[in-house]
């Protein structure tokens, strides 16, 4: 098959995308496909029109790749693509919208408040911070509404630190969430086709409970797959994760990140295009299920629509 591999782009997660892309390109080559690597730019549509690939493999992360922009474009061009469609991507990318959908579907997600830059700048929204604190409690997590990495995420333990945390979060998006900090075990459930893959647990290596960025460093966390959970716990986590996947309308594959606290699993976010680098969680989960990287890529391609 002729496969257009879409990677790079202008997103802040360009680096991850290029690493995912390189690995996918290799696998596609070994699978015997003709691969055309495209770095997103002004010539994208013209190149796709000229090449007319049979399918597009999307190895993009962050805005543009993961928010539905590219998916909508590919649909218009009549080129099937891997992963979820425009609607599911844009729901997942917008954490506020995703949480509303989860709640409406009866699925657990931590309490939150959304602030837009405009609300703060133009409507005096800062006067409502005390209500936000009352609602979500302390500590809380400030994070940009979009974006899948740790960029812009800060844990706030004192109400007076909300402004600096929001300045950080709003540097990455026009809107930010203040979300209840839930302590518990960090789990990721990957879904590939109709298969829920073994659960991955990220165990921080040292005492960095409030330091998200540390965990993304090599050695910042140990990953255990399958996570050591009771059958009951695992079933509940999988049920909730699959529910989130369906509620978002995802297809092909996705990864659901959750915290398993005292009150059961709480969904933090759904990644429509999870990372595919050497250290990424979806490939780890697939491997634990006996699916080699190449085989996983082949499946993703088969599921393209």
């Amino acid at each position: 098959m002729k496969v257009a591999l879409l990677q790079g782009g202008r997103s802040l997660e360009r680096g991850v995308s290029l690493r995912s892309g390189a690995r996918v390109a290799e696998a596609l080559g070994r699978l015997g496909h003709e691969v055309d690597v495209l770095d997103l730019g002004p010539d994208l549509v013209n190149r796709l029109e000229a090449d007319r690939p049979d399918v597009a493999f999307i190895a993009l992360h962050g805005t543009e790749g993961e928010d539905g922009t590219i998916q909508a474009l590919l649909q218009l061009l009549g080129i099937p693509h891997t992963g979820s469609g425009e609607a599911a991507c844009s729901r997942c990318m917008d954490k506020s919208l995703a949480k509303h959908i989860l709640r409406a579907s009866g699925l657990p997600t931590p309490d939150w408040v959304t602030y837009s830059e405009a609300a703060i700048r133009d409507f005096g929204a800062a006067s409502s911070f005390h209500r936000a604190v009352d609602g979500v409690g302390l500590p809380l997590v400030a994070k940009p509404v979009s974006g899948g990495s740790s960029l812009g995420v800060k844990v706030v333990t004192r109400a007076e630190d909300i402004p600096t945390a929001l300045i950080t979060a709003l540097s990455y998006d026009r809107r930010a969430l203040l979300e209840t900090w839930v302590s518990g075990r960090e789990l990721a459930v990957s879904i590939l086709g109709d298969q829920v893959l073994p659960i991955v647990e990220a165990i921080p290596t040292d005492n960095n409970a409030y330091d998200f960025e540390a965990r993304y460093e090599i050695g910042g966390a140990n990953f255990v797959c399958p996570a050591e959970l009771s059958e009951e716990q695992a079933d509940e986590v999988n049920r909730v994760a699959l529910g989130a996947y369906e509620a978002m309308g995802c297809s092909g594959f996705a990864r659901v990140d959750l915290i398993l606290g005292d009150e059961g699993p709480q969904i933090l976010e759904i990644n429509a295009i999870p990372g595919l680098t050497e250290t990424s969680l979806l490939p780890q989960a697939a491997e634990a299920a006996g699916i080699e990287f190449e085989q996983m890529i082949a499946q993703m391609l088969d599921l393209a629509e």
Binding site: R10, L12, G15, G124, A126, H130, I167, E213, E217
Partner: protein, 412 residues
């Protein structure tokens, strides 16, 4: 911000539409193509077999002789035998660290220091201590204190790494008085000083100061040089001048790393520096970079927010700017990239998370109009952040309800 997040973010600065004030790039577009063609033509006619072959690990005699000459231009007298040619200045830093540092050894450097040296120091597991710089470079009084404190614990730094002239990233230059004192201290305590001097010949104003190497005579000062900023970064030629015992180890280390620096580029550079035209080219660069520095300073005065500060370097490639404290330049970079401009956030120049509201700005690699536009955009996003912060903190409600521990009645 951590290095991996930073690395991912920096990946986008390589895109052509981004004005990058992040690199340390010389402007190679100013190099005359006919001079390049003449060297390549000569090589084609006379030296093909040689330049396609391995060369000596310590470097070709021709290049080492030319390095002697280039160092003479900064009043240093050396013996070609003491020179080891390296694959760029970065390898010089790597080799000297590899040779001198065992895990846990103390290494002292400037604060802030060259961001590219930090990963090298950390990969050899050095215990890095950074000494604050002011407008006259490294605070030697603090250095003295640190050496004394270490001695009290029975420890001694393996070496002191510094870029004393037009420092990267701070742009500052170590004063003459401090240079003398640093060299004295090195002698008194028998501590090596590694002087990294990539920019010494790129002076735009002010009086030339003697290098640490010339003040010391090469006893306790190891000198790192490079052709990257006065000829080409792409040729990858740097060097180390060191006493024989160190040199022998450096050569062994280099043999293990890459056997030899490219014979092709050594031949190119060696013959190029034989001609006196190299001085004219450096003079051209000085003129170009001075204008760019001035353009950047002018734009900063116009567009940077109240409360921001920066220095005016007398030479080199960088300006170090510090924003009001509430700005985190890692976050600011995210916004700036959205506007198509990039810089290096200050934390990259420290081992301990300092520098969060500072940034390094390069003025040599980008033309004046782009520098001005880039600075304008950075100023715009910084002002946006400050305005937002101001809005949030000037609100009555931000005198937040008293926390339970502060008040008997608890939160309201």
């Amino acid at each position: 911000m951590r290095s991996s997040a930073m690395r991912d973010m920096m990946a986008i600065t390589a895109r052509p539409e981004v004005i990058s004030l992040a690199g340390g790039l010389p402007d190679t577009s100013t190099f005359p193509p006919e001079a390049f063609a003449a060297e390549m033509d000569r090589i084609t006619k006379t030296a093909v077999a040689d330049v396609l072959q391995y060369g000596p690990t310590e470097g070709s005699d021709l290049v080492r002789e030319q390095i002697v000459k280039v160092m003479e231009a900064e009043d240093m007298r050396i013996d070609a035998m003491d020179v080891t040619v390296t694959t760029g200045g970065q390898q010089a830093i790597d080799l000297i660290t590899k040779v001198l540092i065992d895990p846990g050894d103390v290494l002292i450097c400037d604060a802030p220091t060259y961001p590219g040296a930090i990963p090298t120091f950390l990969s050899y597991e050095a215990d890095v201590i950074q000494i604050e710089c002011d407008s006259d470079g490294m605070r030697i009084d603090l250095l003295e204190q640190t050496i004394a404190d270490l001695a009290a614990k029975g420890r001694k730094p393996k070496f002191i790494y510094s870029v004393p002239t037009f420092q990267n990233p701070g742009g500052v230059t170590l004063s003459l008085e401090r240079r003398r004192r640093l060299v004295e201290l090195a002698r008194e305590h028998e501590i090596l000083v590694v002087e990294d001097n990539p920019y010494g010949l790129l002076r735009y104003e002010g009086e030339t100061l003697p290098t640490l190497y010339s003040l010391d005579g090469g006893n306790f000062v190891v000198y790192l040089g490079t052709f990257s900023k006065i000829l080409s970064a792409g040729l990858r030629i740097g060097w180390i001048v060191s006493p024989t015992p160190i040199r022998e180890k450096v050569v062994l280390g280099k043999a293990a790393s890459d056997l030899c620096t490219s014979t092709l580029t050594q031949d190119f550079a060696g013959e190029y520096f034989k001609k006196d035209r190299w001085r004219e080219y450096v003079d051209d660069l000085v003129g170009i970079y001075r204008n760019r520095r001035d353009a950047m300073i002018g734009a900063m005065s116009e567009y940077f927010p109240h409360g921001a500060s920066w220095n005016k370097p007398e030479g080199g490639l960088f300006i170090w700017a510090t924003m009001p404290e509430v700005i985190d330049t890692g976050d600011l970079l995210a916004k700036a990239i959205g506007k198509g401009v990039a810089f290096v956030p200050g934390t990259g120049a420290y081992v301990d998370g300092r520098g969060a509201n500072s940034m390094r700005l390069n003025f040599s690699g980008v033309k004046e109009d782009e520098i001005i536009e880039g600075i304008r955009r950075i100023g715009e996003v910084a002002r946006e952040q400050l305005a937002l912060y101001e809005t949030m903190t000037s609100t009555d409600e931000m005198r937040l309800p008293p926390r339970p521990e502060d008040s008997e009645e608890g939160g309201s």
